[in-house]
């Protein structure tokens, strides 16, 4: 099973590497959206500092969501997904591999570039650190939940917007506690409770989401 997981991971990462442009799109989207907000509300530092956790988190959320189109659809189109379903390996493992590689390619870069963007918003150092940690814990949850929505809408027309409609309500708790952790740090109260809750969401998503995604894939492909 571990070998199957490794195989899926390696394959997906290799494919992503070959299409670096596609991958970079999500990252560039993140940066552009975050940069739009000061242009919209004005450069006043204290206002930007207040907005920063929410803006950064919402932009990360949207960037993750956009990249969900790459998760299952390409494999579905070229027939690989059907092979995965027919393979002897448990589908849950294969799905887990795809989600991990999706996160490595679409979520992790956001975590790494977020501090730079946080500086644009004049966030203090400790808030920047908490921002990174919250995104580090939160973006995998976004990938996991997103996988369920991507699997449900496989091959459906208009699936781009439909995925957004399905997934954004489910992202709300992650958003609340992710942005809340940074806000709490900036305000001086602790962020531990928020981060612990995010960790709880991650644990719950790790257990439930691959299983639900696998079920949804089977439904989509039968």
């Amino acid at each position: 099973m571990i070998r199957a997981l490794g195989w899926v991971l390696r394959r997906d990462l290799l494919l992503a590497f070959r299409r670096r442009g596609d991958v970079a799109n999500a990252l560039v989207f993140f940066v552009i959206v975050v940069s739009l907000f000061p242009l919209g509300v004005g450069p006043e530092a204290s206002q930007l500092r207040n907005m920063a956790p929410g803006v950064l988190w919402v932009a990360a959320l949207l960037a993750c969501m956009l990249s969900l189109a790459r998760l299952f659809a390409p494999d579905h189109q070229d027939g690989t997904l059907e092979q995965m379903l027919l393979a002897g390996e448990p589908l849950v493992v294969l799905v887990m591999g795809k989600v991990i590689s999706h996160w490595l390619v679409s979520g992790l870069p956001l975590v790494l570039i977020a501090p730079l963007l946080g500086l644009q918003f004049d966030l203090p150092g400790d808030a920047l650190a908490v921002l990174c940690v919250s995104l580090l814990i939160g973006t995998p949850v976004l990938s996991l939940i997103g996988a369920v929505a991507a699997a449900l809408t496989l091959g459906v027309r208009g699936s781009g917007v439909l995925v957004a409609l399905l997934v954004l309500p489910l992202y709300v708790p992650v958003l609340i506690f992710g942005a809340g952790s940074v806000g709490a740090t900036a305000a001086g109260t602790g962020a531990e409770a928020h981060l612990l809750l995010l960790g709880g969401f991650l644990a719950l998503a790790l257990v439930l989401a691959p299983w639900a995604s696998a079920a949804a894939l089977r439904i989509a492909m039968e």
Binding site: V148, L152, T153, V156, R157, G158, S159, L162, L165, L166, L168, P169, L170, V172, P173, I176, F177, G180, F201, L208, A212, A215, A216, I219, A220, E222
Partner: protein, 250 residues
């Protein structure tokens, strides 16, 4: 006890047998709804006293709170029947789930609308980001997502099952979303703005809300029975019995 010679619990689990049952029951639920809502309205306007702090505006809770209760209750019922349809592979359960969604969404809208109209005179703004209203807004998105997903999938069985997965994921998330939003709203606004605290609940107010809730419940059952009959006719149109029902001939 599941099956006996004369009566089987699963007798009504086929669309063909459920259709006439739904048709017979529906007028009774409609009548019950009318009576209960009339009683509730009478209580809400003529029996419940004026509130000292909120004046007459508080009477909106007689619609707002029951509608909110119904919106959440119907979502749970929808999730339940969806799940049954997914696990037991029964068509009728999924059809009932599909029929529940629009009614649930409408009650969610009513809860949001009345919430806004209650918030304006009481707290000064048309939209109050309190826990219940925000959760209702997200619940509306969940309903719309369910309906949009089912509408986008052409194959009815795939639509049934995909909707079921989504509804079950939603059911698990609704308490998580509710408590997250509740935490978020107390953090940012403090407990002062809370639509849960209707002024000290006089008994008449509580009874009025309960009767309206029951009325809405009866209404929902009547509406869902009517809608599921339409769904059955559409989905089962290739069968002999639907053809006879509609009056066609072979």
């Amino acid at each position: 006890m599941i099956k006996s010679e004369r009566f089987s619990w699963f007798h009504f689990s086929s669309p063909q047998t459920f259709y006439p049952l739904a048709g017979t029951l529906q007028p009774w639920f409609a009548a019950a709804a009318t009576l209960l809502c009339a009683a509730g309205l009478y209580l809400s306007f003529f029996v419940a006293p004026t509130d000292a702090q909120q004046g007459e505006a508080y009477r909106i809770i007689f619609i707002h709170v029951p509608a909110a209760w119904m919106s959440m209750f119907l979502y749970l019922v929808m999730g339940f029947w969806s799940g049954v349809g997914l696990v037991l592979n029964t068509r009728l359960s999924s059809m009932v789930a599909t029929a529940l969604a629009p009614t649930g969404a409408l009650f969610t809208f009513i809860a949001l609308w009345t919430g806004a109209l209650w918030g304006k005179p009481t707290w000064g703004t048309w939209w109050v980001w309190d826990a219940r209203l925000t959760s209702e807004l997200i619940l509306l998105f969940l309903y719309i997502g369910f309906m949009a997903l089912q509408a986008a999938i052409d194959d009815p069985r795939r639509a049934d099952k995909a909707g079921a997965v989504l509804a079950l994921v939603g059911v698990i998330n609704v308490p998580i979303i509710y408590y997250s939003v509740q935490w978020w709203s107390t953090l940012h606004q403090g407990a002062s703005v809370s639509m849960k605290s209707a002024p000290s609940m006089a008994t008449t107010m509580l009874i009025g809300m309960l009767i309206m809730a029951l009325g809405f419940w009866m209404y929902s059952i009547a509406a869902v029975l009517a809608r599921v009959r339409c769904v059955i006719l559409e989905r089962e149109r290739h069968t002999e019995w639907v053809m006879e029902e509609v009056g066609g001939q072979a």
